[in-house]
Amino acid sequence: MRLAAFAFVSMISGCGNPGQPALGGDPESGRLLLRQFACGSCHSIPGVANASGKLGPPLEGIAKRVYLGGVLPNTPENMASFIRAPHKADPRTAMPDMGVTQAHARDMVAYLYTLK
């Protein structure tokens, strides 16, 4: 019976295995940086304090989303570049350029890629 329950749960949830952090960044630092750069005032972000903004899309499950900002295929590299210079990907986007450095972007991506 337990086996059947296990079978059912793994069937509907899929089995993930945590690998290396994306772009070799530090997820924990990324989590704090997302707060420091006020990302949560526009996005809801699981695990980030007070991140419940409704201006942009929620970032829950962002690691699995296919497009970033609706325009850019989601890869760790593209995510870092979208965070740093959103207007380069979409001149019309409402997302502002927050002056994020490459090192900071790498950490943010490492955290965001844990949100499956």
């Binding site: 059947a4 409704k54 942009g56 929620p58 499950g61 699995k64 609706g70 325009v71 979409d90 409402a94």
Partner: protein
């Protein structure tokens, strides 16, 4: 009683094991067992005849109607169902079940049943619902054409002079309805790319989830969210954001308003 419970539990476990093992062959090249096919076919016929019971057919002998139907048939039906002397397209031959020749359907089914099947489609068969692509009048003209086609020789079908149609007008019929929107969301495939509360479907996370979209401030990252803008965004996303991966799906004004009404309930 205990024995029966044990048996049922065992049967349920065996069923779950069968599903989990992947033993069932889902491929389109594996034909159904004869009893499975007969059962599915019978269930389909019963369902169609029950649901079409109150539909009344208009005059199907009208020549103009038949001509319109000929055009629509070639446009939308021919690729899968073929015509006298014309085979279905290669992709249709690979479908399971293989689409049937409608020259036979026209003899075996009533006009009301054919109308219902064309309009509503049939789950898990590949038969799409045409409700959101054709008006009722257009569907009736296809129904009118089918028996006419069944009386044509292959040579006569090849010689048929098929006139193009005037494009249909986009008419607003009704006040926006969230209930209709719920169905339209599936019919425009929204649910294949977005997770949408209340809509069962693929939910692939291609675009953002639409939970809470009614209180989101921006649409597609570019357009302030308002009821009017939502309708515009649903109809012409690529006019508003030329770089967006969201395609223009040919959503009519009425359907966009209905979908927007449904999305407005997702707070």
């Amino acid at each position: 009683m205990k024995c029966l419970g044990g048996f049922l539990l065992l049967a349920a476990l065996a069923g779950a094991g069968f599903v989990y093992s992947g033993w069932y062959d889902i491929s389109a090249t594996d034909q159904h067992l004869a009893p499975t096919y007969r059962l599915l076919d019978y269930a389909m016929r019963r369902s169609v005849s029950f649901r079409a019971r109150d539909i009344e057919a208009p005059d199907l002998k009208d020549e103009r109607r038949i001509q319109t139907g000929a055009f629509l048939y070639r446009q939308h039906c021919l690729h899968c169902h073929g015509a006298p002397g014309v085979p279905p397209a290669p992709f249709a031959l690979g479908m399971t079940p293989v689409p049937v020749p409608l020259v036979h359907t026209a003899r075996a089914w009533s006009p009301a049943e054919m109308f219902w099947v064309i309009k509503e489609g049939i789950k898990m068969t590949g038969m799409p619902a045409w409700k959101y692509r054709m008006s009722d009048a257009q569907i009736w003209s296809v129904v009118a054409f089918l028996p006419a086609m069944a009386r044509l020789t292959p040579a006569q079908y090849a010689d048929l002079r098929i006139m193009p149609l005037e494009p249909a007008q986009d008419v607003l019929e009704d006040k926006p309805s969230a209930k209709r929107g719920e169905q339209a969301i599936n019919q425009y495939a929204c649910v294949t790319c977005h997770e949408i509360p209340g809509i069962v479907g693929a939910n692939a996370p291609v675009g953002p989830p639409l939970k809470g979209v009614a209180s989101r401030v921006m649409l597609g990252g570019v357009l302030p969210n308002s009821p009017e803008n939502m309708v515009r965004w649903l109809r012409f996303p690529r006019q508003i954001a030329p770089l967006t991966a969201m395609p223009d799906l040919g959503v009519t004004e009425q359907d966009a308003r209905d979908i927007a009404a449904y999305l407005a309930t997702l707070r």
